[in-house]
Symmetry: C2
Subunit: 163 residues, 2 copies
């Protein structure tokens, strides 16, 4: 499956498109259940831990990514504006990094049913400025995003493995 | 005091600028305390009630505006990404209206100290699209925003009245 990342020049938003070979309910659940997120929402070789999670409309989350030696790579936090199963998740996300504080983004996940029991995921990321968007688009995020989606492909094959 | 609303053509954001003749702590508190918000955060003649409020980082809110006859005019809800007293409030906001569902916005309130014990408030509203932004900018919001800020001017004169 191919991941498409579209960052139109001069805009303060970015779109990610990806098709998964699984029904919408399963794909939606993967992005809304912290126990499942832990299994795929980090690039290969990186460990994810939640500091707290409350995946519901009005909830919030904070998680940390660690490398193989246990060194903190990054921390993200945000609030969850809407969880509309199985169609849409709307949340904020901010990288906790002193050098770029305040670069919060609004993210909208849309899950669309395709024929053949497949699901299209579109993530719209809206930034505070074109500069923020460019910084994100040029951060090497694509390899991380592709790795995360590939992890999920594997997980969906076995319906979340040990679940 | 003059309210400035800047909606640059083709952008998906909008800026509101307003100076208040009061120290930053007082202005920040007015926008972060539900008991004070109830006293000014609706245009003149409109009653505001909270369905729930939890003004803190990771919190959420929902409020309704009523006309003099008690008819519901509008309902807003959102989550609070950050309350960084006395500098910044970051939240989402969505008008609950079946005809325009999904037009959530990200709002950043920045409070800047000016000399003479005055405070500049800048509100950046980031929309999901240029269309959403234009809809908001052309909704007649300006008269409502100006009325709300004038209410707050009066309230600041007496330090929130009965508080």
């Amino acid at each position: 499956m191919k991941t498409e990342i579209i960052a139109e020049s001069g805009k303060q938003e970015l779109f990610i498109h990806r098709v998964f070979d699984a029904p919408r309910e399963l794909v939606y659940k993967a992005f809304s259940d912290p126990d499942i997120l832990l299994k795929f929402f980090a690039p290969k070789g990186i460990l994810m831990k939640f500091d707290h999670h409350d995946y519901r409309t009005g909830g919030s989350y904070r998680y940390t990514h660690y490398d193989a030696e246990g060194v903190v790579l990054c921390i993200f936090n945000g609030v969850i504006h809407e969880m509309a199963s199985p169609e849409r998740i709307v949340l904020t996300s901010e990288l906790e990094d002193q050098s770029i504080l305040g670069r919060v983004v609004l993210e909208i996940y849309e899950f669309t049913e395709l024929n053949g029991n497949r699901t299209k995921l579109t993530i719209q990321t809206v930034c505070r400025s074109v500069e923020d968007r460019d910084l994100m688009a040029n951060s090497g995020m694509d390899s991380g995003v592709i790795s995360i989606f590939n992890n999920l492909d594997e997980l969906l094959l076995t319906e979340y493995e040990s679940k």
